[in-house]
């Protein structure tokens, strides 16, 4: 009996050690902190730079088909359905996600949203939202997606994607970065149209009211502004809040099971160069 017990102890010890070794070496659930940074192997397919590269390889098109969404936050069930819906649309040239990719600012949420967004067949571009700034979020966003403000020209359209989360930065006068915006629009000879995406719209209380006039001046006077896309409100809307001919598209959240499908006609002489359909899924 003693011999049996000794044999069992030996086997038990071996089993215990194997369990520990297997779990310890093979598992990425060993988290240092919910807000840890620099531990996730960021897929290159999630970076804005990679997706811009995909867009620039496309031939010029007279009509672009774009999907706008935003605020996926912690609604991954609905996000999964949205990805399937977008992948099933007849043509999607690019997907724009207008911020609040995550809810709580944890590192693991940044992994989850990446895992879902890279399932999109089309290139996708993101902007930082207020939730994305929480804890180490600003650092995480930049590690995974890229700069907080960026612009590029595709299909003769200057896309200006920028941080407008003023309240998150305590209304410090630098968010949005108007100097950067001016620079990103200054070379007018290199593009024909402008399209803006941000998270917090300028007529929201979370936008720095001291910068509102100058900011909307940029939108109004940019070269052939097509539209300004934003999120934050979780409700679809398309209107001209300043009655100045500048269209504001507020994107809904996947939690509301609605996305905006926008056709842009760059060859049209009409003032409004797009059609927008809100699709439920």
């Amino acid at each position: 009996m003693m011999q049996l017990m000794t044999k069992m102890n030996k086997h038990l010890l071996i089993a215990f050690t194997i369990i520990f070794a297997t779990v310890f070496t093979g598992c990425d659930l060993f988290e240092y902190n919910v807000y840890e940074s620099n531990r996730y192997e960021n897929p290159i397919e999630a970076t804005n730079e990679y997706n811009i590269g995909r867009l620039l390889q496309l031939d010029h098109k007279d009509t672009l088909y774009l999907v706008f969404t935003g605020d996926p936050q912690r609604y991954y069930n609905e996000l999964e359905d949205m990805v399937k819906t977008v992948n099933g649309l007849p043509r999607v040239d690019a997907v724009f996600v207008s911020g609040d990719l995550i809810e709580f600012g944890t590192s693991r949420e940044y992994e989850w949203i990446c895992e879902h967004l890279i399932k999109l067949k089309s290139p996708f571009l993101t902007v930082i939202g207020n939730h994305d700034c929480l804890a180490t979020g600003v650092e995480l966003y930049q590690q995974i997606y890229g700069p907080l403000n960026y612009s590029f020209t595709w299909n003769k359209i200057r896309f200006v994607i920028h941080n407008t989360n003023s309240r998150q930065f305590n209304f410090n006068g630098n968010v949005p970065d108007l100097q950067w915006m001016q620079q990103s629009l200054s070379d007018v000879e290199n593009y024909e149209y402008s399209l803006f995406m941000c998270h917090v719209p300028p007529n929201h209380e979370d936008f720095d009211v001291a910068l509102q006039a100058e900011y909307t001046h940029f939108l109004r006077n940019a070269k052939n502004t097509i539209l300004v896309a934003n999120g934050h409100r979780h409700n679809s809307s398309l209107n001209q809040p300043y009655n100045d001919g500048i269209w504001f598209l507020n994107t809904s959240s996947p939690s509301k099971r609605e996305l905006a499908y926008v056709k842009i006609y760059t060859t049209s002489n009409a003032r409004k160069k797009f059609d927008c359909t809100f699709i439920s899924f």
């Binding site: 017990m5 000794t6 069992m8 102890n9 038990l12 010890l13 215990f16 369990i19 520990f20 779990v23 310890f24 598992c27 659930l29 060993f30 988290e31 240092y32 902190n33 919910v34 807000y35 840890e36 940074s37 620099n38 531990r39 912690r74 609604y75 991954y76 069930n77 996000l79 999964e80 809810e103 709580f104 600012g105 944890t106 693991r108 949420e109 989850w112 879902h116 700034c133 929480l134 804890a135 180490t136 979020g137 600003v138 309240r167 305590n170 209304f171």
Partner: protein, 193 residues
């Protein structure tokens, strides 16, 4: 370590002084053991002390640190656990399964116990600095025949309020194992305190 040495220098209950009289029970603040953990959501490394409340229940207080490369975050943590299952395979080897709850306080940049003033009440409904949740520990303890200490290797598994709040709405898109946090550690505790 100097503080711990000082605390452990106090005599344990049951010992007699040179006159043969019983000494006082160990002072309540003297720990019954100490612990060091890798990961577990409270630091690259965390270390602390444990107190045995009863035969099956104990409380552990730790301090953890995540270095600047990974976030530069300090934590202080409280765990309370109950021993669910104990298997003695020999007088020297014991396996335990424990379950309990933890409270974790995070200290770092942009992590707030109270949201800054620019956020009105309930702008963000959760607490940024405090995390709490359930955990289980699988422990293997070696009880030497002689000596004052038992030595334990343990595997720790927890989840927290934020991950549970996410899983509640996203149980189809993310798996339950996605919201688990693992840690591994060692502990030394006094035999029969």
């Amino acid at each position: 370590m100097i503080v711990l040495s000082f605390l452990f220098s106090f005599p344990a209950s049951g010992q007699l002084n040179e006159k043969g009289d019983s000494l006082m029970s160990r002072r309540w603040y003297v720990p019954d053991g100490f612990v060091a953990t890798y990961a577990g959501g409270v630091g690259l490394v965390s270390t602390g002390v444990l107190y045995k409340i009863s035969k099956r229940t104990e409380a552990t207080i730790t301090v953890g640190y995540t270095p600047p490369k990974f976030g530069n975050i300090w934590t202080t943590n409280l765990y309370t656990s109950y021993s669910l299952v104990r298997l003695n395979f020999s007088p020297q080897i014991e396996i335990r399964l424990k379950a309990g709850a933890f409270l974790n306080y995070n200290i770092g940049k942009n992590i707030y116990l109270k949201w800054p003033e620019q956020f009105h009440k309930y702008y963000y409904w959760w607490n940024s600095a405090l995390r709490y949740g359930p955990f289980v520990n699988l422990e293997g303890t070696h009880i030497p025949v002689s000596g004052k200490w038992n030595y334990t290797l343990f595997l720790h598994c927890n989840t927290n309020d934020l991950y549970l709040a996410t899983y509640r709405y996203s149980y189809n898109a993310i798996s339950f194992s996605d919201i688990l946090v693992l840690g591994v550690g060692i502990r030394m505790d006094i035999k029969n305190p």
